[in-house]
C-alpha cells in the first residue's frame, strides 16, 4: 500500500496496464514530454517512448477518430481529452464511430478504447473547463460511462476500463485530483464496471451520488449522522452506464427515501434517470418524493460564481431534511 493522490493512482493504473499489455497505448494533447496538463501521464513518455505515448495534434475529433481506427487495428488506445468541455469537438466521432462501430459491423470490429477526461468545477478555471456532461454519453447507446470518486477506486476502475472489451468514457473529477490521499495497493487491482458501492449503510434515507460530489455528500452525511442523528445510507454510483439499478432499488426499498446529488445539469440529467428507475423498481416502498440536488440548467458560470453554482453540504443537508419531513 502507498498513499496516493488520484493523479498518482491514475498514473499507476496507466503504467501497469501498459506494462501488462503491449497493445495499450496513450494519445492526447500534451501528454508526452509535458506529462499532461494535470500530469496524469507523467513519466510514461520517458518509460515507454513516443511510439506508445503519442502527443496528438490539437484536434479532439481527430484524437477520438484515429483512436477508433487504432482499436479496429487491434490496439487498445487510452486517450486523454484535456478537459471534458473539449469533448464537444469530438462529439461526432464519439457518437458515430466509437459508440457504434461494434454494432455497425456486428462485432467484427470491437472498439476497445478509453476516453479519459477531467470533468467538473471547483478549480477556478476559464469557460469550457468545468462542465459535467456525462448525461450525453449515458444517453448514447454503445458507451460505458465511469466516474471514480477517490484515488483507490480511480485506479481500479481505470484498469478495469482499459481491460474492458467495449468503449469506455472515463470522467475524472479534477477537483479531487490532488484533494486527498488514500492507500492504493501497489499490485494490479480492478473493480467490476457497472457496480455501485454502498459506502455507508443506513436505514433512514439513501443518498446517491458520484464523482467529486461524493466528497460533499460524505461531509453532509457526517453532519447528518453526528449532529442530527439521521442514519443515512450513502451510495457511490461509480458507473453511470451501465447503472447498478439493483443496488439502488434495494437501498431505497429499505429506506423509503432518497436524495440524488450531482454536478451535471438538472434536465435529463443522471438523477432523472435514477428517479425513473426507482419509479419502476421501488415505487411501492417510497415514503416521500425523491429529490435531486444538481446544478441549474445554466452554462457553468465564470469562476467567481462557481461556489454558489455547485451543490455544497448545506444544500445536501437541506434536501435530506426536507425529504425526511415529507409526510
Amino acid at each position: 500500500m502507498a498513499e496516493m493522490t488520484m493523479v498518482e493512482a491514475l498514473n499507476l493504473a496507466l503504467d501497469q496496464c501498459m506494462d501488462r499489455d503491449a497493445d495499450v497505448c496513450l494519445m492526447g494533447e500534451d501528454i508526452g514530454i509535458n506529462g499532461g496538463v494535470f500530469r496524469v501521464t507523467k513519466g510514461l513518455y520517458e518509460k515507454y517512448g513516443t511510439r506508445r505515448v503519442m502527443d496528438s495534434t490539437l484536434a479532439e475529433c481527430g484524437i477520438i477518430g484515429t483512436a477508433v481506427g487504432m482499436a479496429i487495428y487491434g490496439l487498445k488506445p487510452v486517450v486523454e481529452i484535456q478537459f471534458s468541455g473539449f469533448t464537444m469537438q469530438a462529439f461526432d466521432q464519439i457518437e458515430q464511430n466509437m459508440a457504434r462501430m461494434r454494432n455497425r459491423t456486428q462485432g467484427r470490429y470491437p472498439i476497445r478504447m478509453v476516453m479519459r477526461t477531467p470533468y467538473g468545477g471547483g478549480i477556478r478555471a476559464v469557460e469550457h473547463h468545468s462542465e459535467s456532461r456525462e448525461a450525453y454519453w449515458a444517453h448514447t447507446p454503445g458507451l460505458k460511462v465511469v466516474i471514480p470518486s477517490g484515488p483507490r477506486n480511480a485506479r481500479a476502475l481505470l484498469a478495469a476500463s482499459i481491460e474492458d472489451p467495449d468503449p469506455v468514457v472515463f470522467y475524472e473529477p479534477k477537483a479531487v485530483y490532488r484533494a486527498f490521499r488514500e492507500d492504493v495497493p501497489e499490485t494490479h487491482e480492478t473493480m467490476p464496471l457497472g457496480k455501485a458501492q454502498v459506502v455507508r449503510p443506513g436505514s433512514d434515507i439513501t443518498i446517491i451520488s458520484y464523482g467529486a460530489m461524493m466528497r460533499v455528500c460524505r461531509e453532509a452525511v457526517d453532519d447528518l449522522v453526528e449532529l442530527h442523528g439521521i442514519d443515512v445510507e450513502l451510495i457511490d454510483l461509480l458507473s453511470i452506464s451501465p447503472m447498478d439499478t439493483r443496488t439502488l432499488s434495494e437501498s431505497v426499498s429499505k429506506t423509503g427515501r432518497c436524495v440524488i446529488v450531482h454536478e451535471g445539469h438538472q434536465t435529463c440529467g443522471i438523477a432523472s434517470e435514477i428517479i425513473a428507475r426507482l419509479n419502476e423498481h421501488a415505487f411501492e416502498y417510497l415514503s416521500a418524493p425523491i429529490r435531486r440536488v444538481t446544478c441549474p440548467d445554466i452554462p457553468f458560470p465564470y469562476f467567481q460564481t462557481e461556489k454558489q453554482f455547485l451543490p455544497d453540504t448545506d444544500t445536501v443537508i437541506g434536501a435530506v431534511q426536507e425529504t425526511l419531513a415529507w409526510e
Binding site: 484536434a59 481506427g69 464511430n97 454494432n103 455497425r104 456486428q106 462485432g107 472489451p165
Partner: protein, 396 residues
C-alpha cells in the same frame, strides 16, 4: 490572468526612433528569422494515360499483365451492370435509397487494384465497384442497400472498413488504422475514399493533418465528381483544384484523370508503395463526374442542366478502356459483347440469390452493441422480444 500582460517589462522598447531614422536592432536581438524570398508552393503532378478518345500516351503505358487487364475490364463492366440493376430494383421497390455510381467506375476500381489482401480499404457509400473488387459479394451489397444489417459488416478475410453515411466521418478511423500499421511496424497501407464534398468537413482536414504529421501509410483518394448533391464544386471549394489541399498539409499530391483506369491504378500503386515503405501519406484528386443521381431520392433536373452531363458521355471510362484493350489485342468486339452478357448473368444470379435468401433478424438487434449485454439492456431486450412474440411490429 498574469498581471504582466499589461506591463511592458522593457520601457526602452517603446522609445520612438527619431523621425526619418529606423531604430537599430537592439543588442542580443537576432536579425530576421523569416526568409522573405517568395515561397514556391511545390509541384502538383497531373496524370492521364488514356485520354477521353482512348488515345494512349505510349510513354506511360504501364506494364500490367494481360490477365489483370482483362479482369480490370470485367470489373468495370460488372460495376456498371450492377449499378443499372440496383437502380431497376430500387425503382421497383425492392431496394432502399442508394447512391448510383455511373461514370465513376474507373476511379473506383483504380484505387483498389494495386492493393494486396494485407492492405486496407475504407470505402465511401458510392464505392461499391471497389467493394466488389475487394471481395464483397454482390449479394452482400444488395442486402446492405435493401436495409438488412447483415450486409453492413465487411466479409471475413476482407480488410475493409464499413462506410459511414455521415460524409467524411470514416476518414479519421481510416487514418487510425494506418497509425496502427506504424505502431505494429506492418508494411501495409490504407486507401481511403471520399468525395469533393467531404473535403469541406473539418474532420477530413484533421485526418489529412494527422496522417501527414504521423507519416501514416494512407492514400487519400478524393473522388472529385463535381457535385455534392446539388452543390457544384465551385460552391464547395475556391481553389483551382483539390490536389493543392494535400500539398498544403505537407504530403505529395497528384491530380489524376479519374475516368482513366490506367492512370488511377498507376497513381495509387505509386502512393501505396511509398506508404508501405515508410514514406507517409499521399493525396490523390481523381477527377470524374457524377453522371447519375446523388441518390435514388434525388432529382438532379432541379439543379443541373442535362447539357452539363453530355460531354461526360464522351469521356466514358469503359469505352475508353475498351479502345485500349482492342489496341492491345486483348479483346475484340465479340469478346467485349460476351463479357457484357456474362456480367449481366452474374448480376441476375446475385439478385436471385439475394431474393431467395434475404431475411431480417429482428431478434438480433441486441446482440452486437456490447460484448456482453449489460443487465439493464437485458430487461429492454426481454420486453422487445415479448412484443415480437405477440406479433408486434409485423406488417400484417
Amino acid at each position: 490572468m498574469p498581471d504582466d500582460f499589461n506591463e511592458n517589462p522593457d520601457p526602452e522598447a517603446t522609445t520612438p526612433a527619431a523621425e526619418g531614422q529606423y531604430p537599430e536592432p537592439k543588442h542580443g536581438v537576432k536579425p530576421g528569422h523569416m526568409d522573405t524570398s517568395p515561397i514556391d508552393p511545390g509541384n502538383i503532378e497531373v496524370l492521364q494515360i488514356l485520354d477521353e478518345h482512348g488515345q494512349l500516351d505510349k510513354s506511360l503505358d504501364p506494364p500490367l499483365n494481360d490477365e489483370l487487364l482483362v479482369s480490370m475490364h470485367r470489373g468495370l463492366v460488372l460495376t456498371r451492370t450492377f449499378d443499372h440493376r440496383m437502380l431497376t430494383m430500387q425503382r421497383q421497390g425492392e431496394m432502399g435509397t442508394f447512391a448510383p455510381n455511373l461514370g465513376q467506375e474507373a476511379c473506383q476500381l483504380g484505387q483498389v487494384i494495386p492493393l494486396s489482401k494485407k492492405d486496407w480499404y475504407s470505402p465511401s457509400y458510392r464505392s461499391f465497384g471497389a467493394q466488389i473488387w475487394r471481395g464483397w459479394s454482390m449479394e452482400r451489397l444488395l442486402l446492405l442497400w435493401a436495409g438488412y444489417h447483415e450486409g453492413f459488416p465487411p466479409p471475413a478475410g476482407v480488410n475493409d472498413l464499413p462506410f459511414s453515411i455521415v460524409v467524411g466521418s470514416h476518414v479519421l478511423p481510416a487514418v487510425g488504422v494506418a497509425m496502427g500499421m506504424n505502431y505494429k511496424s506492418d508494411a501495409s497501407c490504407m486507401v481511403v475514399n471520399f468525395g469533393d464534398g467531404a473535403l469541406s468537413q473539418g474532420a477530413v482536414a484533421e485526418a489529412l493533418n494527422i496522417a501527414a504529421v504521423n507519416a501514416a501509410p494512407v492514400v487519400f483518394v478524393c473522388e472529385n465528381n463535381g457535385w455534392a448533391i446539388s452543390t457544384p464544386l465551385n460552391k464547395q471549394a475556391a481553389s483551382e483544384n483539390l490536389a493543392v489541399r494535400g500539398l498544403g498539409f505537407g504530403m505529395p499530391s497528384i491530380r489524376v484523370d479519374g475516368n482513366d483506369i490506367l492512370a488511377m491504378t498507376v497513381a495509387v500503386d505509386e502512393a501505396a508503395q511509398r506508404a508501405r515503405g515508410g514514406g507517409g501519406p499521399t493525396f490523390i484528386e481523381a477527377v470524374t463526374y457524377r453522371m447519375s443521381l446523388h441518390t435514388t431520392a434525388d432529382d438532379p433536373t432541379v439543379y443541373r442542366e442535362e447539357k452539363l452531363v453530355d460531354p461526360w458521355e464522351e469521356r466514358c471510362p469503359i469505352r475508353r478502356f475498351e479502345t485500349y484493350m482492342k489496341y492491345k489485342g486483348l479483346l475484340d468486339s465479340t469478346t467485349i459483347e460476351r463479357i457484357h452478357a456474362e456480367c449481366e448473368q452474374e448480376v441476375i444470379k446475385a439478385r436471385d440469390h439475394f431474393r431467395s435468401t434475404a431475411a431480417s433478424h429482428p431478434r438480433e438487434i441486441f446482440d452486437h452493441l456490447f460484448e456482453q449485454l449489460p443487465e439493464e439492456l437485458e430487461a429492454q431486450r426481454d420486453a422487445y422480444l415479448r412484443r415480437l412474440d405477440e406479433g408486434g411490429g409485423s406488417d400484417g
